[in-house]
Symmetry: C2
Subunit: 232 residues, 2 copies
DNA sequence: ACCTGAACACCGTTCAAGT
DNA sequence: ACCTGAACACCGTTCAAGT
């Protein structure tokens, strides 16, 4: 029925599986069944579940390399580049909301690799662009840290709203707790929260992403202009 | 030998256990042994492992309520308050680096609750202070989103450098891979990375935290001043 | 009232055995 | 060459039984 197994097929099946049923549902045995094979067959191609998860993270981020929107158009400058890169990573996060927490929290290969920018190739291109644009070494590294902090925080929070369904397995009946009303959870004693609830519930993530990203780039821009002050 | 069991004792033992051996090592059976009891005894006080983890997150954040540095000194204004709150949460993250990823990624009780600010009590106080300081509803909510984004991203990245040892279990021998040199991992083809490696390796998290926090507060300040422009 | 032992269904992983 | 079956050590969780 199914074609032959290989590492790529397994990793991509794992991604599909996680996107559909959530990370917590992924077991070697279920992934085997998903592929029409016994779990034990996977071990021909993948050394362990942990390595499989690393493979999933790498494969998901690999899409960046094939994203035409991100490819360097040097003429538009470093801000354009950081914008494209950020949007490319955001697209990945939104495509695989259930995988992104893995991208965010798997221990990176080296301590100075900061998710969600997890590959040496992208780091190299990041620094190439910034130094080409006149950033000092120190300025480029500080930009890298601020940029990754923002991406990680924003995307993790944005994506957590979009898990694969309510996570309560199969919803196999009418035994849900009464839940005390649509969106009530003891707000009686928190007047500000009650007043702000509808505002809090709105999804403004696109606008916030653009705005915060722009403001970050502005901050970095100011640092390039007065650069050297702190350069060693 | 040990005192009697109760939920508090179990949750705090779990925190200690995670801090010592890492999240991945926490199983009901091992936690039982840690407490001098069979795993099954825990189920008298804790409905499930998932609930235990929720309890861990709550308990760790509860320290904020007893942190004298954070308690409201209204006379010093909203910026002082957000500074104290941020530093309080940072202290918690650094005290429990192996627990913080849980704080960051456990699905919150409501979709508008954004880690690491996970309790209605702190949200209420956050909004009380900001609205008292003249923020519009919209401005306060946007401040909340930007503030949590920053805290989550920064602390998750800062804390990931400080896991509980190398995570390779017991280090039970000399069978470590040769590792090809102290800090080498194929950097040959990445000249910028090689040049920046020593800078990248430096830990500047304190300075970056202060600086980025201050810049965030400045940005918010600018928004209060021209407030109303976007208030619906 | 509180803990234990035995049991169940499920894991990750190994390895000899089948085709 | 590639997959399977059986097995091992370990999970979370339930429940009748012990003290």
């Amino acid at each position: 029925m199914t074609d032959r197994l290989d590492q790529q097929r397994i990793v991509h099946a794992a991604i599909e599986f996680i996107d559909q049923k959530g990370l917590h549902a992924l077991t070697m045995r279920r992934l085997g069944a998903f592929l029409g094979v016994e779990a034990m067959a996977l071990y021909r191609y993948v050394p362990s579940r942990e390595d499989l998860l690393d493979g999933v993270v790498d494969a998901v981020l690999d899409a960046l390399h094939h994203d035409p929107e991100v490819h360097l158009h040097a003429e538009h400058g470093w801000q354009d580049y950081l914008q494209r890169l950020a949007h490319g990573i955001r697209r990945i996060a939104l495509d695989h909301p259930a995988v992104f927490p893995l991208v965010a929290t798997r221990p990176p290969a080296a301590p100075w690799i900061r998710p969600p920018l997890r590959s040496l190739r992208w780091l190299e291109s990041f620094f190439t662009v910034l130094e080409g644009a006149g950033f000092s070494d120190d300025g480029a590294v500080r930009a890298y840290r601020a940029y990754t902090t923002f991406l990680l925080g924003h995307l993790l929070l944005e994506v957590s709203h979009r898990g694969p369904m309510t996570d309560d397995e199969d919803d196999d009946g009418d035994d849900e707790a009464p839940a005390a009303g649509p969106s009530d959870m003891g707000l009686e004693n928190y007047p500000h929260l009650r007043a702000l609830e509808s505002l809090l519930d709105q999804d403004e993530s696109v606008a916030e992403f653009e705005e915060a990203l722009e403001s970050l780039l502005d901050r970095l821009e100011m640092r390039v202009r007065r650069r050297g002050r702190r350069g060693r």
